[in-house]
């Protein structure tokens, strides 16, 4: 059996599919959030030991780290759809990029915000021009800039192409954020973040962190599909299939 992927490149086909997918993604989000938060609050140690003796407030990493990961991942997704749109001139890919952007911006903000709350008691400051903090802030401005540029241009096709180009150029920030901590010896550089690894995180803490990451990912699918549906309806308002849909809704 060969699946015709191009069938789904049509907004009219994808609209009902996105609608059917929304609910399963919301259910997955809820289940994973409950597991992740329960594990994070009740199955992990009250504080950390060794030379990193953080108290209860370390639990913010169950929100902070997944949000920071999603902020980078969703930007890659956004650029992927923007690039596909630029190359193949497909309307739906631009709409996908549009639908992902607000969720990405929310996660970037959440990462910065929870980081500030955590930084005050542990580091002693809400904000510092640490390489990772600075590059994450630039990522936030890129999301905002992408959305602002898109809404500033009236002609949708021109707006799509201009903002896709901005998103593409902004991709430079993602590897910079990821590799912004490359100080081998923490006493040699003032970067406040430290690079960690999966082997340096206790398994219960890691489990909660990864579950929360999955939950955030499922949430991103759910919200992006909901947003995509309203973008499709707005842009295809004149199309006959939307009119038929409206008539059916009215006659019910």
């Amino acid at each position: 059996m060969t699946l015709n992927w191009f069938k789904f490149a049509s907004p009219a086909t994808f609209y009902p599919l996105a609608g059917r997918l929304t609910r399963p993604f919301w259910i997955l989000t809820g289940v994973l959030l409950v597991i992740g938060l329960y594990w994070g609050f009740f199955q992990t140690a009250d504080q950390l030991g060794g030379s990193n003796p953080q108290k209860e407030y370390y639990r913010i990493i169950f929100i902070h780290v997944p949000a920071a990961w999603m902020s980078m991942w969703l930007y890659i997704v956004l650029v992927f759809w923007a690039a596909i749109g630029l190359v193949f001139n497909t309307r739906l890919s631009f709409m996908m990029a549009n639908a992902v952007a607000p969720t990405g911006a929310v996660f970037t903000f959440l990462a910065l915000w929870t980081g500030a709350f955590w930084g005050r008691p542990s580091w002693g400051t809400y904000w510092d021009w640490d390489p990772r903090l600075t590059s994450e802030l630039v990522l936030f401005f890129l999301y905002i800039g992408y959305m602002a540029l898109h809404s500033a241009i009236d002609d949708t096709r021109r707006a799509d192409r201009a903002s896709a180009l901005l998103a593409l150029v902004g991709l430079v920030m993602v590897p910079v954020i990821y590799w912004s901590i490359n100080c081998p010896d923490p006493t040699q550089c003032a970067a406040l973040h430290q690079r960690s690894g999966l082997g340096k995180i206790e398994s219960n803490i890691l489990f909660s962190m990864l579950t929360m990451t999955l939950a955030f990912w499922m949430y991103s699918f759910a919200t992006s599909f909901m947003r995509l549906r309203s973008i499709i309806l707005t842009r295809e308002a004149e199309a006959s299939w939307v009119q038929e849909l409206l008539n059916r809704e009215h006659s019910r």
Binding site: T44, A45, Q47, L48, G49, G50, S51, N52, P53, Q54, K55, Y57, Y58, I61, A83, L86, V87, F88, N89, P121, S122, W123, G124, T125, D128, W129, P131, L168, V169, L171, V172, V174, P175, V176, W179, S180, N182, C183, P186, T187, Q188, C189, A190, A191, L192, Q194, R195, S196, G197, K200, I201, E202, I205, L206
Partner: protein, 163 residues
Amino acid sequence: MPDMKARQKRLVFVGLAILGIGAASTLAITALKSNLSYFFSPSQVIAKEAPADHVFRLGGLVTEGSLQRQGEGLTVNFDVTDNAATVKVAYEGILPDLFKEGSGVVAKGRLRPDGVFQAEEVLAKHDEEYMPPEVASTLQTAHAEGVANAAANPSPANSGAAN
């Protein structure tokens, strides 16, 4: 390439753009690598490389046993070292939770005429371990035992394993 389709041209264009972005990223990361130290070490301060008349950052480790609180107030004194030179630091305020003797610290402030660094802000650093206290202490005990064993039996095979 006149026989390329418009779509292929755009594909090449986007591909080149991504290549350029990759190059820019690599350059930025390389620049960050060589430029991460935006503070002065105690050795640099002693060698008078740090600015004498304006605010700078001092980074290093808090010397073990050097932390002193003055009376009932918030004023604290401690030494910052890079294991080669040591600078005395005075600070008035609440120290961050992760501030500890033997741990990394970054202080922002200026040098007083008497050579003491008057800090306006003290930042503590965390490390990459996310382990509960029991696990962390077990690891430390195991490490200490390994070092002790290596010291007791200084055979070539053992000394290699202890490193």
